[in-house]
C-alpha cells in the first residue's frame, strides 16, 4: 500500500516538474488570449529563452541571471509578433508561425557553441528542514525555484485579471476591442502588454526547461511544448486556476512515458513519446465539445480566430 502511495506521489511530483515549463507558457498565453490575441510564436520564444538562459548561466555561472536573460529574450522576440499583429494588422496565426520559425532558427544558430556545455543549476531544498517532513518531505525538497515561481504566479495573475481595474479593462479588450474603444480605452496598449507578458512567460518557461529541468541545451529541445500549451489554454478555459491541472495533463503524460519505460513495459519509447501530444489532444476534443455547447469562457474577440467563418 505504502509503495503504491509513494509511487503515485513520485509520479505526481515528476509530473509537476515536467509540467512547469508548459504551465508558464499556458499562463502567459492565457493573458495574451484574454486580450483577444493568439500567439503561436510562444514555441519560438521558448526556444530563444531556453538558449539565452542556458548561455548566460554557462558564462556567468548564475542560474538566476540566466532566468532573467531568458525572460528578456522571450519579451524581445514577442515584440516581432506585437509589431506584425498590432502595427501591421497581419494575420495572427501566420505571424505566430513566423515568430516560431525565427525563434527556432535564432536559437539553433546562436546556440551551437553551448550544445553539450555543462552548467551549475539551482540547488534544491535537499538537506534543508523541508526534507525532514514525513512522506512528502522528500518530494517537496525536490521542488526547484522555477516551479515555485510559476506556482506563485497563478494567484498573482488571477488577482490581476479578476480583482483590479486594469484586469477588467484587459478582459474587456479581449471580449470586444471595438466596444472598449468606444468606452474611451484604446485596446492597443493592453494587447501590446499582453503579447509582451506572454513573451516574458514563455522566455521564463524556456529557462525553466533548459536551465532548471534538464540543465542542458539542444536545438529545438522544446519539441512542441509551446504549441501543446496553446492547445491547453482552451482546456484551461482561459482561467489561470485551471492552467495547473491542464499543464499537469502534459506533465503526467510525459512522466508516465518515462516511468512506463523504467517499469520495463514492452512498448516502444517512440510510441510512448506520442502520449504528451495525444493525451492533450484527446482532452482538447472533449473541451471543444463543451465549447461548442456553451462558449466555455472563450474571450469573444478570439471567436474569429478559433471558429473561422
Amino acid at each position: 500500500m505504502e509503495l503504491i502511495t509513494t509511487e503515485i506521489l513520485a509520479l505526481l511530483f515528476a509530473a509537476l516538474r515536467s509540467a512547469t515549463p508548459v504551465l508558464a507558457v499556458v499562463l502567459g498565453e492565457i493573458m495574451t488570449q484574454r486580450s483577444g490575441i493568439i500567439n503561436l510564436g510562444v514555441e519560438g520564444q521558448m526556444l530563444v529563452g531556453a538558449m539565452t538562459g542556458f548561455a548566460v548561466t554557462a558564462t556567468t555561472g548564475d542560474p538566476w541571471l540566466g532566468v532573467l536573460a531568458a525572460c528578456g529574450a522571450g519579451m524581445l522576440l514577442s515584440l516581432v509578433h506585437a509589431a506584425l499583429v498590432l502595427g501591421c494588422q497581419a494575420n495572427q496565426i501566420a505571424s505566430g508561425v513566423a515568430v516560431m520559425i525565427l525563434g527556432g532558427g535564432l536559437s539553433a544558430f546562436y546556440g551551437i557553441p553551448y550544445v553539450g556545455e555543462k552548467i551549475n543549476s539551482f540547488g534544491s531544498f535537499k538537506g534543508s528542514a523541508v526534507a525532514d517532513l514525513p512522506v512528502i518531505g522528500e518530494f517537496l525538497a525536490a521542488l526547484t525555484p522555477t516551479i515555485l515561481v510559476t506556482l506563485v504566479s497563478i494567484p498573482l495573475i488571477s488577482i490581476f485579471l479578476y480583482r483590479t481595474i486594469a484586469g477588467l479593462h484587459w478582459r474587456s479588450v479581449g471580449e470586444s476591442a471595438g466596444i472598449t474603444r468606444n468606452l474611451g480605452h484604446s485596446p492597443v496598449p493592453y494587447q501590446f502588454a499582453a503579447i509582451v507578458f506572454g513573451g516574458l512567460m514563455s522566455g521564463f518557461a524556456g529557462a525553466a526547461l533548459a536551465v532548471d529541468y534538464t540543465s542542458n541545451w539542444v536545438e529545438y529541445m522544446t519539441s512542441g511544448r509551446g504549441l501543446v500549451a496553446v492547445g491547453l489554454v482552451i482546456v484551461a478555459r482561459w482561467n489561470p486556476w485551471y492552467a495547473l491541472p491542464a499543464a499537469l495533463l502534459f506533465g503526467v503524460s510525459e512522466s508516465l512515458n518515462l516511468r512506463l519505460q523504467s517499469w520495463c513495459v514492452d512498448i516502444s519509447p517512440y510510441l510512448l513519446a506520442t502520449l504528451p501530444y495525444l493525451i492533450p489532444l484527446v482532452v482538447l476534443m472533449l473541451s471543444f465539445r463543451g465549447l461548442k455547447a456553451g462558449g466555455g469562457g472563450m474571450p469573444k474577440g478570439l471567436k474569429a480566430v478559433f471558429q473561422g467563418n
Partner: protein, 354 residues
C-alpha cells in the same frame, strides 16, 4: 499641365502602375535583400559577396539549379497541402505530419510488395503514400467538423505524432537488421525508386506538384466544386440551403491536401534517401506553409515561389561552405522573409481589408 499638378491631380494610388500588386512585391524583395545583407553584416561576413554567393548557390549553374529543383518538389507539394484548405478558410499547419505519414504508408506498401515488379510496386507505393497523407489530413478535418476542434492546433500537434510514428517503425519493426544500429528500413528495390531526369536528383515529385497545382487551379476557378468551396467559406448556412455540405468540403480539402503532402514524403524516402529513416525531411512542412502564404494561397503562384524558396534552401548549403554559417541561417532567412511579407502586405492592404 505642370509637373506639380500632374502629381496632385492623379493620386498616386489610383494609377495602375503604382497600384498593381507588383509594388508591394517589389518592396518585399528589396526589404528581404536588405535584411539578408544586414544579417550577414551582423555576423561579420561581407554582405554583398555573400549574397551573390547565395544566389549562385541556388541558381548559379546546372547542378545548383537541379539541387534547387530537388528541394522545390516537397515545398511545392506541401504548400499546395496548405493552400487548398485555406480556400475554405482553414488554417492547416499539418503538411509536415502528412508528409511523414505519406512516407510511412508508402514504405509500408513497398515492404509488403517488395518482390513485385516495378509496374505493380510503384503504383502501390504511391497509393499507400496518398492514403497515409490523406488520413493524416482527414483526422483533423473530422475533428473540426465533428467536435469543433480548431484545425491549426490539431494539425500542429499531429505533426509531432507523425514524426514519432516514423521513428517508431524505423527503430522498431521495420528496422533493417543489417544496418548496424542505424535506424532505417532496408533499401528500396529498383522498382520503387521514382524516375529521375537528366542524370540529376530531380524526380517525378516535381511533375506531380506542377500538375496538381494546375489541376487545383482549374478546379477551384472553373468548376462547380470550386464555387461550392467559395460559398461554403463565405457562408456555410447559405451553402447548406443550396445542398453544399461544409462538413464534407472540410474533409475533402483536408484529405486532398494531405494526399499531396504524402506524395512529397514518399518521394523524399524513395529518391533522396532510398529508404525510410529518421529526420526524413525536417522543416519542409513549415516552408510549405510559408510559401502558401507568400503566394496568397494562389495555386499557380505557388510554383515560382516554391522554386525561389527551394533556391534559398539549396543555397544554405553554399552559405555553410563559403561563410561557415550554420544551417540554421536558412531558417532565420525564411522567417525574416515571412515577417517582411506579412508586414508589407499588412500595411499595404490594411485599407482594403477593413
Amino acid at each position: 499641365m505642370t509637373f506639380g499638378t500632374f502629381f496632385r491631380n492623379n493620386s498616386l494610388k489610383s494609377r495602375w502602375f503604382v497600384s498593381g500588386p507588383w509594388v508591394p512585391a517589389l518592396i518585399m524583395v528589396i526589404g528581404f535583400v536588405l535584411v539578408t545583407m544586414a544579417f550577414f553584416a551582423i555576423n561579420g561576413r561581407a554582405p554583398l559577396n555573400l549574397f551573390i554567393e547565395m544566389v549562385k548557390g541556388g541558381f548559379g549553374d546546372g547542378y545548383s539549379f537541379s539541387e534547387t529543383l530537388v528541394k522545390t518538389s516537397p515545398i511545392l507539394l506541401t504548400a499546395l497541402a496548405i493552400a487548398l484548405p485555406a480556400r475554405l478558410g482553414l488554417i492547416s499547419v499539418g503538411a509536415e505530419g502528412q508528409l511523414y505519414l505519406g512516407a510511412l504508408f508508402g514504405t509500408g506498401a513497398v515492404l509488403l510488395a517488395f518482390d513485385q515488379p516495378g509496374w505493380l510496386l510503384m503504383p502501390l507505393m504511391l497509393a499507400g503514400a496518398m492514403l497515409g497523407g490523406a488520413l493524416w489530413g482527414a483526422i483533423p478535418g473530422l475533428m473540426k467538423t465533428r467536435l469543433g476542434v480548431n484545425e491549426t492546433i490539431s494539425t500542429l500537434l499531429l505533426n509531432y505524432v507523425g514524426i514519432l510514428l516514423v521513428s517508431f517503425v524505423v527503430h522498431g519493426p521495420w528496422k533493417n537488421p543489417d544496418s548496424l544500429g542505424w535506424p532505417a528500413t532496408v533499401e528500396f528495390p529498383e522498382g520503387a525508386i521514382l524516375p529521375q531526369f537528366f542524370d540529376t536528383r530531380v524526380h517525378m515529385g516535381l511533375i506531380f506538384g506542377i500538375v496538381a497545382a494546375v489541376i487545383l487551379h482549374i478546379l477551384v476557378t472553373h468548376s462547380r466544386w470550386g464555387l461550392s468551396l467559395q460559398v461554403s467559406r463565405s457562408n456555410p448556412r447559405v451553402g447548406a440551403t443550396a445542398g453544399i455540405s461544409y462538413e464534407k468540403n472540410v474533409l475533402v480539402v483536408m484529405a486532398i491536401g494531405g494526399l499531396l503532402a504524402g506524395l512529397a514524403g514518399i518521394a523524399e524516402a524513395s529518391v533522396i534517401q532510398n529508404r525510410l529513416q529518421d529526420g526524413l525531411a525536417t522543416g519542409y512542412g513549415l516552408t510549405g506553409f510559408l510559401v502558401a502564404w507568400l503566394a496568397g494561397q494562389h495555386f499557380l503562384r505557388i510554383i515560382p515561389l516554391s522554386i525561389l524558396m527551394g533556391g534559398l534552401m539549396a543555397s544554405a548549403d553554399s552559405l555553410q561552405l563559403y561563410a561557415q554559417l550554420p544551417k540554421a541561417s536558412a531558417d532565420i532567412l525564411q522567417a525574416l522573409l515571412f515577417i517582411i511579407v506579412l508586414a508589407v502586405g499588412g500595411l499595404w492592404y490594411r485599407r482594403s481589408s477593413t
